[in-house]
Amino acid sequence: MAGKSGRTIAATRESGLKDKLFSWEGALILVLIAVNILGATLSPNYNVTNILRESPRYLAEIFMLFGMAFILVLGDIDISVGSIVCLTATVGCLVSNAGHGVGLVILACLGVGLICGMVNGFVATRFTELPTMIITLGTQIVFRGIAEVALGSGGSASMTNLQSVAPLRAKLGPLPLSFFIVLVAAVIFIIVLNKTTFGRKLYAIGSNKTTAYYTGIEVQQIRFFSFSLIGFLAGLCGLFLLASTYGANTTTGNGFEMEVIAMCVFGGIATTGGKGNIIGGFIAAFIIVCLRIAFGQINMNTQLILVIIGVMLIVSVLIPSISTAFKKPKKKTS
């Protein structure tokens, strides 16, 4: 091209082990180890067997982490997932009590979750001027409302036919089925977000929606897909929760959305979109789960556990801004 100066632009960069160790994920692993040491010191019962025994309820919650990571990277948020969990568990329980087998229970739970997610996605993509916080606040109330109507005056439903969820309680050795689902899901989602062009589109949308759109990325389709996906995963969560608690009530899934968002944020995913990684969220999830199990074992007050997790969350969000304040400001050309 004209006026070409023969300037070359570097296309490689050095990234050493040092960068990896000092990354956010590296720090989280250290915290995870510290939490486990703390747990082992505090509680004599803090061992692998007991952790595994208590884990299913938490593992179910982690399903949603992956979908939430997508949603947050996009720059959106979904606070209705706790209600979707409640609704799917309720529907699943009623289907089971009606005498249907495991297949139909699974289908009902996943189907209801998917539909709920699609409703969120539809509203979010049709009315793009509405903040998704408000949309999902609305559907949060609607979905739980429907569940409460279905649950009737008692406000709870218990499973009469425990056999219908038995396959979901299956174990491979000491490990529950949900553990494997989480593991497989983690691998898939980490690859999708980091290694595929689809994952990069999510980051592009979260970083600059307008540029993404001008660049030919199907912004609204991808948002619709992601909302549907997290709905589906909430359904999966509801299904496994039902299988581990044998019932549903009006408080099922309460606060799950905030816990899942907390895991993501603690893991370094910015709620402003375009930043963060599932790996971080995944490690953060285990930190929170281990903490809860450890503190639960020494009979610490649940509210106090929440206070501790809340403080950790705030500190984790503060650390990056504190560390950038100390770093040298970057060269600016204006």
Binding site: G3, I9, T196, R200, N208, T211, Y214, K331
Partner: protein, 502 residues
């Protein structure tokens, strides 16, 4: 000293970590003069302005105000001496009224009560002085950029500013609004206010300033009388080399028509737009701001959807419903706003370039890192981007180089047939401008059709083969460049003011 200097700066050095933003620069402002400050992007003008207004404290150097040495610890110190700045995008409070904006921070208060009547009257006086045609009770957010600038100038006057700094005041204004601004500056000049202004537009400088100071690469180059300096000389000082031909339009054999619009309309934005682009041809599309040029091109590219009309590329009618459709067909848009529409500013240059083609480069959806690096490196070098690495964030480049990245992003789309460049040199300094024109010329040579959407008359006249003029959503004329002149274009751009888009 014989000269009556209101402000003098000597040996100013300002260091940001890793970069010397100002290197031993000097500046002298005579009382009551209008003084232009020119230089390429990154030459240090903005840092210098911020030194005068007390935003930055220089590491070295002296500032004299009316012969007395002063030091600014913050913006307040500068304000107290009567130094006020008006920025390109006014930093006012859009929800507040004109009066509130003018008097914010120095309201007229008597026995603890804000004196609204008195303030409104004072504000009205200031607006009268500027011949403003809006009310003191208007919300600032509802005003045009030009009017908002007026509010800022009124605010400066209300504090009895003796020195007013204008940072690229005309960049966001239409031709008419610029004339209005010139008048205001003239009035300030007559009233004895000293004015420093930054602008990339030569015409601003020739029209307004008595003297001009040039910065280049953070250094002071010189101060010249405007009457005694020619445009090529000034460009040479700014760029550091001679630009022999600002508009290097190559001789291209114009080919077959490749692109056609027939009666394209979108209610409320543009109506019945028809135009033709031939292979190798640069077609200028001009008009006043708000004439519907960008809106038309956005419909062509699927950003919005036209209600009626045909988009024809290489004889085939396209059904453009979304941006991807246009891109697949080979219509590539370089959007007007690089930072908001063209690039992801905190991403590396390389990823920005390959973002539209990442799917084609991928292995069944998996990112092909190696290929991406090679290709982005190649296209970034092709347009001669001034960058160290493809991992440099786009935000670290100057406006001109950002534009080159946008061009590289377009070029990387191999099936490109028609390029639509919307204000490609807006906010770009003169050196990079010439390079962008050179690229444009080469694209024409390679047989692409080019639509150049621009408000800058000189560039439209300098680069186009034919020029379409739009006014109020309609094409009002098409001129061959040989017959075109600024007057003819303006006539077409402003005619039939009574007809509007239905």
């Amino acid at each position: 000293m014989a000269e009556d200097l209101i402000l003098e700066l000597k040996g100013i050095t300002k260091i940001f970590p890793g970069v010397k933003a100002l290197d031993n620069v000097q500046f002298q402002l005579r009382r009551g003069e209008v003084h232009a400050l020119m230089g390429e992007n990154g030459a240090g003008k903005s840092t210098f302005i911020k030194t005068i207004t007390g935003v930055h404290q220089p590491e070295e150097g002296h500032i004299y105000f009316n012969g007395q040495e002063v030091s600014f610890k913050g913006t307040k110190d500068a304000q107290e001496l009567g130094i006020a700045a008006v920025y390109q995008h006014p930093t006012s409070y859009p929800e507040l009224t004109v009066t509130e904006n003018i008097f914010i921070g120095h309201e007229i208060i008597k026995s603890g009560m804000i004196q609204w009547k008195e303030m409104n009257a004072e504000a009205q006086k200031l607006l009268d002085r500027l011949h403003a045609n809006f009310k003191v009770t208007d919300e600032v957010g509802a005003l045009t950029i030009a009017q908002q600038q007026m509010v800022e100038i009124a605010k400066a006057l209300s504090t009895n500013a003796q020195i007013i700094l204008l940072d690229e005041p005309t960049a966001a204004l239409t031709a008419n609004e610029s004339q209005e601004l010139y008048r205001i500056v003239d009035e300030l000049h007559e009233a004895g206010v000293s004015v420093i202004f930054i602008s990339h537009r030569m015409e601003d400088m020739y029209r307004l300033a008595q003297r001009v100071t040039v910065f280049r690469d953070s250094q002071y180059i010189g101060t010249y009388d405007v009457d005694g300096i020619t445009e090529p000389e000034l460009i040479k000082y700014m760029v550091g080399r001679e630009i022999t031909d600002m508009y290097p339009k190559p001789d291209v054999k114009i080919g077959e028509p490749i692109f056609e619009l027939k009666g394209l309309s979108r209610t409320g934005y543009f109506k019945d737009v028809s135009l033709t682009v031939h292979a190798g041809e640069i077609v200028g599309l001009t008009g006043l701001v708000g004439a519907g040029r960008t809106e038309t091109m956005e419909a062509v590219c699927g950003i919005t959807k036209a209600d009626a009309g045909k988009i024809i590329l290489e004889g085939k009618e396209l059904n453009v419903r979304k941006p991807k459709d246009a891109m697949k067909a080979g219509i590539i848009l370089l959007p007007e706003d690089r930072q908001k529409q063209g690039l992801i500013m905190n991403w590396g240059l390389g990823v920005n370039v390959i973002l539209p083609i990442q799917d084609e480069l991928s292995n069944n959806g998996f990112i092909n890192d190696k290929k991406e690096r090679e290709i982005s490196k190649q296209y970034l070098e092709d347009v001669d981007t001034k960058a160290v690495s493809i991992f440099d964030p786009a935000s670290s480049l100057s406006g001109g180089n950002q534009q080159k990245v946008v061009v590289a992003k377009a070029l990387a789309q191999k099936n490109m047939k028609l390029v639509i460049m919307d204000e490609p040199t807006k906010g770009v300094d003169v050196g990079a401008k010439a390079e962008i024109y050179a690229i444009m010329g080469e694209l024409a040579q390679q047989g692409y059709g080019i639509i150049l959407v621009s408000s800058e008359m000189a560039e439209v006249l300098g680069m186009s083969d034919r020029i379409y003029v739009m006014c109020k959503g309609r094409v009002t004329g098409c001129l061959d460049v040989a017959d075109a002149s600024q007057e003819k274009i303006l006539e077409l751009a402003m005619e039939q003011s009574d007809k509007e888009v239905q």
